[in-house]
Each structure stands twice: as structure tokens, then as C-alpha cells.
């Protein structure tokens, strides 16, 4: 996980079916299928490769609810 406060996604690998919807909707090409890994379903699961801008498209589109998006909450204006 990135240690700075940039947004990132976490993927539940074992539920991923490799459908690539997340790959296709990410505007920054942050997600790829991991050709070096095979999950319990026997597919190459999705893998986060960096650059997330927290648009949330992948979270919306994943039919298997595999993706969690982590982002810093916007600071509230005090004055």
C-alpha cells in the first residue's frame, strides 16, 4: 500500500473473475490483469498498478464488489 496520502484501491483477488470491466473504465489505466497470478477461480485477477485519482469508476463497475477505494477525506474549511 502507498504510504503517502494518495488514493489507492484494494482488490479482493479471490472474488475477481478477470472480466476487465475495471480495466476498461479506469481513466488513468491504473488496473491491469496480473499475468503473473492465477486466483482460486483460475483467472488472472485484476491488479492495481498505481496512479489512482479516486474517480470511483472501478468501484461502481465491478460486478463482484471486489474493489475498495481508499482516499483521504477532504479537509473541511474552518475559516
Amino acid at each position: 500500500m502507498p504510504q503517502n496520502k494518495m488514493p489507492y484501491i484494494d482488490i479482493v483477488v479471490d472474488r475477481c473473475k478477470g472480466c476487465e470491466l475495471c480495466v476498461s473504465v479506469c481513466p488513468k489505466k491504473c488496473i491491469e490483469l496480473d499475468s503473473n497470478a492465477v486466483n482460486v477461480k483460475g483467472v488472472n485477477p485484476a491488479k492495481y498498478v498505481g496512479g489512482c485519482i479516486a474517480c470511483g469508476s472501478c468501484v461502481l463497475v465491478c460486478p463482484d464488489v471486489c474493489i475498495e477505494l481508499y482516499k483521504e477525506e477532504k479537509a473541511k474549511k474552518i475559516a
Binding site: C19, E20, L21, S24, A54, C55, L60, P63, V65
Partner: protein
Amino acid sequence: MQTTKSHPKSLFPVSTHYCGGCGHGIVHKLIAETLDELGVQDSTIAVAPVGCAVLLYNYIDVDCLEAAHGRAPATATGLKRSRPDCIVFTYQGDGDLAAIGTAEIIHAANRGENFTTIFVNNAIYGMTGGQMAPTTLVDQKTETTPYGRKVQNEGYPIRVCEMLNTLEAPYYIERVSINTPAKIRKAKKAILKAFTYQKEGRGFTFVEVVSTCPTNWGLTPPDAMKWSADNMEPVFPLGLFRDKGAEKEQTESGEKN
């Protein structure tokens, strides 16, 4: 650092049997989020269809009754009339709702039964291996229209929202899609509105979701999303058909002015 959205409470955190990239997973998620947001998981009874979503009860964590093919609106009528305090919804595909179940959906809508129907339209019969659906497009090839759907033999695709919109009673009818993230957001709004209206006891609410069937369309999931947008939406235009709640508000604010 916090997560924007955790796994919906009303959705079991399990793998589904749906094909990779199938629209059902997205729609289930939106319904589960809706039930969470309205706080009605504990008072909801779902009616599962015959079709790919027959095992809906393994994914959405609510009391659930399995209905016979097409009869979910009749079954839901019995449920809701008995338990008007419960949230009742049917979840039906294009065969279940628009083929064998045309009478049941029309008459439940016509009686203004206070339940919600989520109609998942992917222009094909998924579970049985890709036969023609009432919503299959003209010239679309399926297992039972191997030369493409021909108007002369098979007629035209049926537009259910438009049909139900001819009835007096239905309270809310909208057609949405899930083939882009932006449309998924709009679909969520529509589903939330439908269930909210039900919770407020307003009447029959109906959301048609233009979806995909990558497996039987022979397309990759991303291509299927595009096919849905490019080919299905011209035939099944997205949009609001009826919202008596909004009409009411307009009238009231008009009267105030």
C-alpha cells in the same frame, strides 16, 4: 485514509455464480446499497425469479421467496398485501417479465401494488443458453434466431416501460442502464427512488435496467457494455417515464407561487 464505500451490509460477501462481467452483480450491489441506506434490510422480502438470478437469495441477505417463472408480481402481490409493512421487491429478467409474465406485471402495475420491480433487460435468455427474448433486437442472432430476429416471424422487441406507462396506477417508471460508471450512478439514484417511494407507501415503482450478457452475446464484458450502449439504448431509450412524486411536487410548488 478511509474507504469510500464498504461492502454493502445487505450483500453477502461471497462469489456469485454470475459470469464475469455480468450486469446482475452491479444491479445486486445497487439494490443492497439501497436497502442499507434506507435501513430496511430487516424488513425486506425479495421475490426471486426464474432465470440467472434464481439464486438471488444467496447474494442479497434478506428473506426471500422463489416465484414460478413470470409469476413474481402475483407472488409479490400476495406478500405485500399480507405484509404492507415489509419492503417487497421482484427482480426479473426479460423472459420472466416480458414473455411468460406479461399478464402478471401489467396487472400488478395496474392495481398499483405497493412493491418495486427491478427489470433487468439484456435482450437474451441467459440461463438457458442464449435464446431469443421478447427484448431481443431485430436482426440479433440468438440460439433460436440463428439467422437473426426477423420481424415477420418473431415480431419486434417489446418496450416494457412504455407499455406500463399507458396504465394509470404506476407511481414511478424509469429506464436506466449500467453500461458506464456515470449511468451506474444514475441507475442507483433510480433504484433508491423506487424503494424510497415504496417505503413511503406511494404505489407501484418500476425500474428497467438495460444490461448485458457477455457470454451469450459472444462479447468480452467491456465490449458487451459498449454493445449495450450503442445498440440497446436506441431501441430502449433511457429516461424517466413517470414520477408522480415529482409531478406532485411541481404542482404543489406551482400552487404556492
